[in-house]
Each structure stands twice: as C-alpha cells, then as structure tokens.
Amino acid sequence: MKRRSFPGGTHPPQHKSATADTPSEICPLPPELVIPLAQHVGAPAVACVNAGQRVGRGQVVGKPNGFVSVPVHASTSGLVVAVESRPHPCGAELPAVILQPDGDDVWAEEYLTQSFHVLTTETMLERIREAGVVGMGGAAFPTHVKLDPPHGKTIDTAIVNAVECEPWVTADRRVLLEQRDKVLTGLEVLQKISGARQMWIGLEDNQTDVAALLAPHCKQRGVGIAIMPAKYPQGAERQIIYAITGRRVPTRGLPMDVGVLVQNVGTVAALTDAVTRARPLIERMVTISGPDVARPRNLRVRIGTPVAHLLKHCGLREEAAKVLLGGPMMGTAQHTLAVPVLRGTSGVLAFRRQDITAPAVGSCLRCGRCVAACPMHLLPTFIADYARRDALDLAERFAARNCIECGSCSFVCPAGIPLVQSIRYAKGAILARRRST
C-alpha cells in the first residue's frame, strides 16, 4: 500500500458520518422525470421520441450527435409527455424529454448476461457508448472517448478513483461497498480495453474499512490499493495521478499523455452493466445530505428525477436556503428545485440560512494561504487581482488557465475574497479573447 499525496490542498470538515455507513435505498419513482438531452461533455443528444409516445425502460430517447456524444435513455417505462426546454443544473433552460412513469417499470428489451471475455474491444467500446456511460464523478466526459486514445498514446496504468474528497458526499463509498463485484468486473473490463499493466484503486485514509474489505479480492486480481491522506482535492485527476504514479500531466495535456487512465468508481460499475448486460446507464448513487436534510442517506436514483422529489423523500428541516448539486467545494448552487439529477450528479446537499453565512469580503492580507493551498502551484491572489482589473495578459502569464477551479483558495482565504470566481472569470475572458482574434 502506498501513502503519497500532492503538494497543497486543504482540509475542509468532512461531514461524511451522516451517510457513510447507512446502506443505500431505492428512490421511489417521481410523478414526472425530466431527462435532459445534454448530460455530458460534448454535443447534446438529439431527441428521437415525440410527445404521446410510449417508451420502455432503457429505450433510447436521444441519439448521440457526433463522436464526443452519447445517447440518452428513458429511465423507466412510461409516456413521453413533452420534449421541451426545462431548467438544467447549469442554470439555463435546455431541451429535455419529459417522461410520465407508468409504474410498470418494464425494460424495453430483454438484456442477456454475457461474459466480457468473449467480446472484442470494439464491441465493448460500442456497448459502453450505447449505454451512455460518462464520467460519473461530476465531469460527465463520455467514457468511450477516454477509453479510445488516439494512435501513439498507450495506457499502462489505470486508476479507479474512489477518493471522493468532497465533504458530505459518500456515494462512491456506497457503490464500492454495495456493488463490489460490479466494480471488480469493471476493473477487468477496463484492463482488457485499455491494456493497462498496472491497476490501482485510489482511496483516502478515512476509508480504511473499505480497503480492508477489498484487499483480498484486489490481491487475487493483481490490483493495487493506494491509500492517500484525506485532503482536498485528492480526487482531482492530476492530483490522484501524481499521488499514485508520481507522474505530472503536462499543462495542456491529458492523463493519456503520461499513459494513465482515471475512472470514477461509479463509472466502472456502470461499465460492467454496459458491457456484460448491454444495459444503459439510467440510475446512479446520489448522496442526499446537508444540515437541512432530516433523513440524510444515499439513494439509487433514476436519471431525471427532480431534486425537489429527492428532498421531499428525505425530508427538509426547514425551507432550504441553498441547494447544491455535487459537493460543497465544486458543486453548483441551484436556483430552482425543478432541476433533475444527471448522470454526473454525485450529491444533493441542502443548507439552512444559518449554515451559509458568507464571510464579509475584505482586502487581501498578503498572507499567502491561497498560494500554499493551490494544488496547481498557482498564485490565486495575483490572478484574481489581475482579473478584477481586466489585465488578461498578466492573468494569462500567471497561468490562469491551469486553474482546476477546486475552490481551495477561496476556502482558506481569511479575507473571504471570491478568488475562484475571479479566476474563472479570467479564464472565460481569456478564452473568449482567443476565439475572437
């Protein structure tokens, strides 16, 4: 077992005990599912059903549009009520298929169980794509693209990311505990497709119980378990790669440039269903937690379930003042509870008014805590200052574009300066300028 980490980072309070050891439950179907056609990085899917049409569970309702795109499926059987724009977690209203469940929940077709050993790599990649598997850690990048590196790039190390460094969220932990066999099979699939010689499961040292349970199975398969100190953002791609392999992903490069493939543990489990049973990704583990949630727990949620339904199911102590999708460090605050759970949604966190008092914004003290915390070796206070003054050239020279927006700098800033927001603005402005010239 290795014990390495990355320079920088922070230690936000973890708050994981509320949900970590409670077995997950199946979330009852909502009266209406909102299945957005844009649930992944890349071109949104194109709707291929019409209002009034009956669909089976797992039936394709949106066809992929291009290589970096995946299909979208009906999460249950029922009636398509409409194909229209609905609130999307990104903040805009985007096209979605509105599905009224009929309660029967019957699969559109019979799915066979098949050993992946008899399948070719092409068949497996095709099935992964058709199942709509995307990165379930939050980025939602189509997995078939990640698994199919361009010529000349070889992958020698595959890492299953079960670090889950975001506070409150325990969905990956529950997946690892409850769907262990699926994850282990997924690992073998991953190895077969990528040709990786070394396999790792990455965990934080607050998950040693899981590691102990996994150890015999991993040993049998030659999979290493890497235990890293619990530190945020240990689960970020570049940080976990550095901690486990000691390799640094180039500034503008991808993990495949250093021969590494990182997959979230939920993705790996979904991969097994996709390859061995050709079943689409229509359900995922979601942590419903936060100080405002009466009965925090992990739920197995159908994609497209509105957040309001989840919070009603788990109960709110009082009207939520802030609801986040994802974790508190990188998750996005929502302005309406009508937004649905997407394939990349790991958590739904609700906070009361008294939990979210923002610190008064002061002036930079030059204390350098943001510099020490930045896992990308940037100077957040400088970049933020340049961003505020629209000095984009300087911001770019200080490598604003390398920022992974993990939020460590804002978290540690004693003056409460919204550093990430400034840097994010600078990144956007630099890219916009680049595109216009």
């Binding site: 990104c90 903040g91 805009a92 996005t332 605050a333 929502q334 302005h335 923002a358 505020r388 919204p418 927001q421 400034s422 994010r424 603005y425 956007g428 402005a429």
Partner: protein
C-alpha cells in the same frame, strides 16, 4: 575664482555643443500633423477608438491606417478638425449616446437567486446566467461604471445603471463591456427609447418583471414606422421619428417601457411590484 568660472563655463559650453549635436543627429522625425492631431483629439485616452490612447490614434491617423471618425468623445468638431489637418473630406456622423435598455429595478423585476460574490456583471453572468430571471435585464453590479472613462454612468439606488446625458460622449465602451447588451448607442438627439432588452415572449416577460416589453405591438399600431419589432421586442426606428405619434405610443405602452429620457422627473404611473402580485 576666475579659474573656476572659466573651467565650469567651458565645460558647460562643451556639454551644450555636445547636446546640440546629439539633438540634431538623433532627432526622431515626427510628422507635424501628428502633434497637431494630438492637440485636437479629446485627450481622454479612453481607448474607444481601439488604440491605446490618443497619441497612438494620432499616429495611426497620420499613417493612414485608422478611420478619422473614431474619436467619439471629440464628436463632430474634432472630426472636422482632423479632416482639415489630414486634408480629407468627411461627412460627420450624428453624435451618439448610451441608453440603458432596462427599467427592471429591484422592485419591478424578479431575482433568480441571491447573489454573493464579485461586484462585476460579467462574473455574475457566469453563475447560472446571472442573478435575474430576465436574461436581458440590467444586473446592476456596475461593470459599465468601472469602465466608463467619463464618469457618465452610475448605478442608482434601485440597482439599475443610469446614463448622465451631459457626460456621455457615446464612446461605446460600456456597450462592449456589458455582458447582456443592456446598454446600446442611440442618436443623441433622440429622447424616446424602448427601455427593455428582453428577447422573450410576453408570457415569459410578465414573469420576469413588470416593466418589460411584452411584444404587444401597440406602439407599432400607434406610430407606424417609428417602431420596429425584433422578435418579441419593440425597438425605436431611429431613422424615422415622429415626435407626436411616438409620444402617443409612449402613453399607450401597457408596461411603460417606452420612455422619454429627456424628462426624467416624471415618474411612471404606479404598477404593482412583483412581490405584491405574487402574494
């Protein structure tokens, strides 16, 4: 005493000769027109012409790489003087002024969420497309105020940008800064403007705020050709203005989004705020 005067005097003379020779030998040849142009330009160094400061614009003018009508703060007078210096003929354009195309202040418009963060409209726009339900409404965080070189913009108490017509030179910097294109340039001589920037249909606009254009076309019926529709949004046809008909249209606009900005004292008739309506 004498020795000191002579030695220092001769040293001084020597240095003077040296300097005079250097000045002649290393003189930078400047087109005299460039200095003259620098005198007639507004001198605000606002950058609205697209060049870093007035001297850079003067240099570009002499080099013939810049259009002569770019100095917005200077207006037609400066243009005429530039034309004289460069010995060219130009037709002066009409002076322009910035107009805030939104009346949806805190009372009249509905917020999408509580915004806490950077006091900058462009940064706020990146968070779920801005804290206002209306996608075209003024965010009131003052990016335009920060960028106005003439102090012509301010955010009023109700959270809306306001243009000081006397100070605005129509340079257009605010127009390029505003992430929602709430600000637009209009002929300085026109007083009546449509103060709404929402592209959406009336049903949605009514949800956003109480003073938005719902696309009812009443203004076009009242004053044909003075207004045009762009989607669901009425716009003044600045090339074709009839003051009396437009004043009629202003009276009839059900949401009072057509306003005469020359008479700011007159408040719009009371319309219930969003809070009153929803309660």
């Amino acid at each position: 005493m004498l020795a000191a005067v002579i030695s220092l005097g001769s040293l001084g003379c020597f240095a003077a000769i040296l300097l005079a020779m250097a000045a002649r030998r290393f003189a930078v040849k400047v087109d005299p027109r460039q200095a003259a142009l620098l005198d007639v330009l507004a001198g605000a160094n606002c950058g609205a012409c697209g060049y870093p400061g007035c001297s850079a614009y003067a240099r570009a003018l002499v080099a013939g790489t810049a259009r002569p009508d770019l100095c917005r703060p200077g207006g037609p007078e400066t243009l005429a003087r530039i034309a004289t210096i460069l010995d060219i003929e130009v037709a002066p354009g009409e002076p322009q002024i910035a107009v805030v195309r939104c009346r949806g202040d805190r009372q009249q418009s509905r917020a999408k969420y509580d915004y806490q963060g950077l006091e900058d409209c462009r940064a706020a726009q990146k968070l779920a497309f801005g804290p206002k339900t209306c996608p075209g409404g003024c965010l009131g965080l003052g990016s335009c105020v920060q960028h106005c070189p003439f102090g012509a913009l301010s955010i009023n108490e109700q959270g809306l940008a306001e243009v000081d017509r006397d100070r605005c030179t129509g340079c257009g910097l605010c127009v390029s800064v505003c992430p929602r294109q709430v600000l637009a340039l209009a002929p300085a001589g026109s007083h009546i403007h449509v103060q709404c920037n929402s592209p959406d249909a009336g049903r949605k606009v009514k949800n956003y705020c109480h003073v938005g254009c719902i696309g009812c076309r009443l203004c076009i019926k009242t004053a044909p050709e003075c207004f045009v529709m762009e989607g669901f949004l009425a716009k003044v046809n600045y090339g074709h203005q009839k003051p009396t008909a437009m004043a009629d249209a202003m009276e009839r606009c059900p949401h009072h989004c057509i306003q005469d900005l020359a008479e700011p004292g007159e408040a719009a008739p009371h319309s219930p705020s969003v809070e009153e309506r929803t309660s």
